[in-house]
Symmetry: C2
Subunit: 196 residues, 2 copies
């Protein structure tokens, strides 16, 4: 199990003693996922928070007309879960699958509670990363309210530069809330305008 990345990620927010690191690592369950494989289907209970050691996952819904809408990408170094379901332990609304072969570390809800009991500092860690995630969804909400599709795309490129050339364009369209056809046309226009 490769634990270097996750420990580094945690060290940015709280300081752990070797003993505490050990407690934490023992609660994690490594898992390999192939491209297109599902970690979670809508309606299931999300029993784990998942840290991505390598590869890239996505969380998305399917609407009444059968269209996919991507809520989040989780490239290397990110956490992903159906937060609603993880918190309530009721059936969720997200599908989670892999865009590329991936290696992840899973932390079950029970193990997380056990972790909080043994090493209360982790309450702080998860509070802080939840706060940061909250802020990014707030910014995204404001983007959706105030920006044109073109500006949302430019923002996406600034925020996720590593994804632009590593995932199919249609997923970016789905994330920013336009059709793949329209994103294609926008990009063509942007090239003509020299914005690209």
């Amino acid at each position: 199990m490769d634990s270097e990345l996750i420990l580094k990620s945690i060290a940015r927010h709280i300081a752990l003693e070797p003993r505490e690191e050990e407690i934490f690592l023992k609660l994690l369950q490594p898992l390999k996922i192939k491209r297109k494989q599902f970690l979670l289907h809508r309606g299931e209970v999300c029993r784990h928070a998942v840290f991505v050691n390598s590869g890239c996952l996505r969380g998305y819904t399917i609407d009444a007309n059968g269209f996919e809408h991507i809520l989040s990408f989780a490239p290397t170094g990110w956490w992903i879960a159906d937060m609603y379901s993880y918190i309530t332990q009721e059936g969720g609304y997200l599908n989670i699958d892999a865009l590329e072969d991936a290696q992840v570390l899973q932390l079950s809800k029970e193990h997380q509670e056990s972790l909080f009991a043994q090493v209360p500092k982790f309450e702080r860690y998860y509070r802080i990363i939840t706060e940061k995630s909250l802020v990014s969804y707030q910014l995204r909400t404001l983007d959706n309210l105030s920006l044109t599709a073109q500006d949302r795309y430019l923002n996406f490129c600034r925020r996720y530069p590593s994804l632009i050339n590593s995932i199919p364009q249609k997923y970016i369209a789905s994330y920013i809330g336009v059709t793949p056809e329209f994103l294609s046309k926008m990009r063509k226009d942007m090239q003509k305008q020299g914005l690209w």
Copy 2:
């Protein structure tokens, strides 16, 4: 200072001893705000998280064309802040003002840290309410990606029934991401269709 509501609100997530309640309440600073009065201007540092004891506040941005976009309402019993600014203590992007005369309790960032040091349970409380807030922004993001304006309005009515008849309609339009004119037309259509 009226502390009943905030204590009840906290009791839903963590159990406090009388001593701990006392520590907490001493860190709060009560404040009265009149309608249209600002608690925070964009660019300022958000030094307090604010709990609304009575009245209603809103957080919003103004875009490049001068249009307001409401990120959040905070009716009685809710917290509000410019989370980005509160976390980083750098200049924020939100304006916060009162839609009605309000009474609030302010918790400064410094006092919050002091609270965490004295009563670590509060890490848990703020983690949990941040998680819930995160989920609601995730749902809102999915609504923005997948629903028509009419369905976003219907969702708003289900989620904030108390606001529908207590705040000007144009603020609801701003929150769901349409112009006031269009919301007015939608409502008329919905009445014709008998959806209302």
